[in-house]
Amino acid sequence: MRSAVVGQWYRDLAMGVRFTFTGGREGWVRAVLTAFGVGLGVALLLLTTAVPNVLSARDAREEARQDRGIGYLENNTTSKPTDRSLLIADTDTEYRYQEIRGRLLEPEGADAPLPPGVAKFPAPGEMVVSPALSELLRSDAGKLLRERLPYKTVGTVGQAGLIGSGDLTYYAGGKGLAERLDGSVVARIDRFGASTDQPEEEVDPILLLLTVVVFVVLLMPVAVFIATAVRFGGERRDRRLAALRLVGSDSRMTRRIAAGEALAGSVLGLLFGTGFFLIGREVAGSVEVFGVSVFPSDLNPSPGLALLVALAVPAAAVLVTLFALRGVVIEPLGVVRTAKPARRRLWWRLLLPLGGLALLYPMLGQGSENGEFNEYLVIGGVVLLLFGITALLPWVVEAFVARLGSGAVSWQLAVRRLQLSSGSAARMVNGIAVAVAGAIALQMLFAGIESRFTASTGKDTSRARLELALPQDGSMIAVGEKLSRAKGAAATAALSTTEVSDAAKDPERWLGVTVGDCAALRELARIPSCHDGDVFVAPDRADPTSANLATAGRTVYFDPSWSGEEAGAEIAWKLPAGMRKVTERPDSLRPGSAGLMVTPGALPAKTESDFSSTVFVRTDPAVPDALDEVRNAAVAIDPLIRTWEWETTQQAEQFTDIRTGLMVGATAVLVLIGASLLVSQLEQLRERRKLLSALVAFGTRRRTLGLSVLWQTAIPIALGLVLALAVGLTLGAVLLKMTNVEVGVDWASVLSMTGIGAGVVVLVTALSMPPLLRMMRPEGLRTE
């Protein structure tokens, strides 16, 4: 009995599959449309299944090229050169907000380790660069950067040495680095690679929640879209199925045959999707989205997940078709759906979102301190809530358009069409509504917890935009002066710091010393009058005893000596009698500079060797690329000068990574949804081609028909967005409650999300206008 049922199913599904490929042009067009739509979704799913691989490959390469930590030789500054040692200087920089990883390399022996991806050490004056950097340097946009990297390019950094295809990296040949060995900017190493015993960073439960929700929110519209795509061309298919009823197939057989057609379309879609994925994989190597680039070879779907996609998509196609046809009675003489359809029921549609809320309810108030979230409940709850949109939207559209009256002809055509088949209109916008709802919820969650992962740096970017650290003191004032003359620099403050001790040998107490000209010192403390040669003292509130050391007439020592160690210079300095007390500015450029503040003229001779110097630069907003002009000037002075751009806030890296991941995923999903909307719009127009031509034949203005298409899209999308807004705000509020954060709505971002959703629809409508105009040509009336 059971085998007979299975056999019947098999025969019916197989017949549907045969119809797909033997149904002539019509069947093929439908199959290709379905396959195209399903293929887009499959490609995105395959991309998702490749994410774990991408991340691990990137991590592995990043670790392999590390030259910090374990790679250091013991006691780096006093280590001796060997056959296997390499001197390496960190010359990372930034160009137009893109980070560039730079290293100077100076091998000290024949067996010095080569960085991953580098075949041969570049000689001094030469460099090897990543392909992306090479391209940037050759382009017009790289003109300023060429000035900063004046080396001759002699080779390319291979994939093994790069994190992504867009990675901007260079290795240049260095010279005389041994003299500048400081264990910080310049180090001596004997191998590349990260320590294996580094503890794994624990993920905050809230960030884990965020990651889970991001995945669900991004994948839901894809699933919804695939479900929509397998129903492309459904109306004509149903008419064809009516003919099957005429020759004796019962209604169940007919549905299974339809499911067979969907199965064939979805299997073809799997092939298309694999093709799209392979094409996209190659294209991915040459694009960068929100600063993330990948190598095509990293984009390998995990076999288990890919198998799941291969099985789930055809199974979903069959189930969706059987479900969709449950309310359609295919009679031998036609499809009953063409008459007025039965009203949709609300009760079961409400069960889905309510079920979602019920699953999320137990986790309210968990927060990051009260344990971890149950991932399965979160996924289940979010899926049900978002899936509820797809169930509710057809009811909302039907209930709403049933109340609309007729207006202008274009409005009447649109409203009547929506009244007759609100389901297909709702299906068309389901994907975008789900995406917008998810995005609103995530935006709320991001905004709510942002403060938890964002810290203020306390830096005032109106006073300085760049901070430059000089690798050796030498001429701090001179460097400051040179930088002040650089194009784009409005003002500079050059400061050096060191410490003085209470004794020449084995000191016990220390006092900070900051050296700078009067203008620079005024950036740190309130100083009414100042001349070169003056000395000031700013009491350290945190360490009141330091004040005892900073008394006029007392002798302090630069570079004291320690018993059993190499002797220091032990330079004595008697604090001048005219030393004045000043107060540190609350908005000091360099907070914590309490202690002695000294103008260069007051310093004893030969004291500069141990100073660490910093130059703060305020840039001229009127100069384009001011930051890069100053960086260029700094590198021209000394390539080892390191620069940091000042930011007012700093975000936790994981938080930023998740946000970037969301941006990348959301872009891909929006592109998919836009493409799918376009395909389904064109498919609907194709079905009405003859009617459109007839309408034009008796004089209907093209504008009228164009407007009617716009209304047909605009009404459901408006309803979809309202529903998305309601569900998104609810989900956002629930997620915030779960994380114990006060519920608040950032209306600007909510409206911008809704606007983006609406924008996609407007764009799709605009793109479908040219084919609409073509289809409206009266030539469409020709049948021969």
């Binding site: 063409t338 055509l413 009617l691 309408l695 004089g699 009336l781």
Partner: protein, 230 residues
């Protein structure tokens, strides 16, 4: 080629039209008087529908001339030809081509609404035409809920509702059984004569052509008048 008779409303001479390598019209001519019913006959693919589409200004011919009411159609732009179709021409197609989502009365009222008539006024006029074609009881039904013959009568009402001077009917009974087909033809010609509208009737059925005053035959893209044997 004989010159068109004086007083012709719509005249076409030496029309040529090709779709790619296929020649649809190869020097065809045509003329019709107000109130006259002319049947255009010929086998499938002979070019009769293309002739109708050219005459109605739906498709521009590659060469030749079409004058309507003394005005050369080639001098009109697309918007002017569309306006002409809205105001002076009516159309009936083989499958009705009613807008499935509109009710029957809304379908019939559509050409009037496109001309700017208010909805109430348009639907009132539409109903009176539907009554003349004996389908006023279907006013609130959708095309999917009525039979083929009823739908075609609704389509004829739609074609006549603006009071066109020329009615173009392309195989108007092609999808109907003989009884329904005859009833549609009776009502169509009766209504057209009552308004003095000319009817260009494309058909390949002799019994449908019998409702016309004159027949022309199109074969291989050329047209000629047919002698009628009574």
């Amino acid at each position: 080629m004989t010159p068109p008779p004086a007083g012709s409303l719509l005249v076409a001479t030496d029309l040529r039209k090709a779709y790619g390598p296929t020649t649809a019209l190869d020097g065809a001519g045509f003329s019709i008087h107000p109130g006259e019913v002319v049947a255009v006959m010929g086998p499938s693919g002979s070019g009769k529908s293309t002739l109708l589409h050219c005459l109605a200004g739906i498709v521009p011919p590659d060469s030749g001339s079409i004058t309507y009411n003394g005005r050369e159609m080639a001098t009109m732009n697309d918007a002017q030809r569309s306006a002409l179709r809205r105001s002076d021409f009516g159309f009936v197609f083989q499958f009705g081509q009613l807008v499935p989502e509109l009710t029957c009365v809304e379908n019939v009222a559509l050409p009037l609404r496109l001309n700017g008539t208010s909805r109430k006024e348009a639907e009132r006029t539409a109903l009176s035409w539907m009554a003349r074609l004996e389908v006023d009881d279907l006013a609130r039904k959708r095309p999917g809920e009525v039979s083929g013959g009823q739908g075609q009568r609704v389509a004829v009402s739609r074609a006549l509702v603006t009071g066109p001077r020329v009615l173009f009917a392309d195989e108007p009974t092609g999808a109907l059984d003989s009884l329904n087909g005859e009833r549609v033809m009776e009502l169509l010609t009766e209504a057209a004569r009552s308004t003095n509208a000319a009817v260009v009737l494309v058909t390949h059925e002799a019994r449908v052509a019998a409702y016309s005053d004159r027949e022309i035959v199109v074969r291989d893209g050329k047209s000629r008048d047919m002698e009628r044997v009574i």
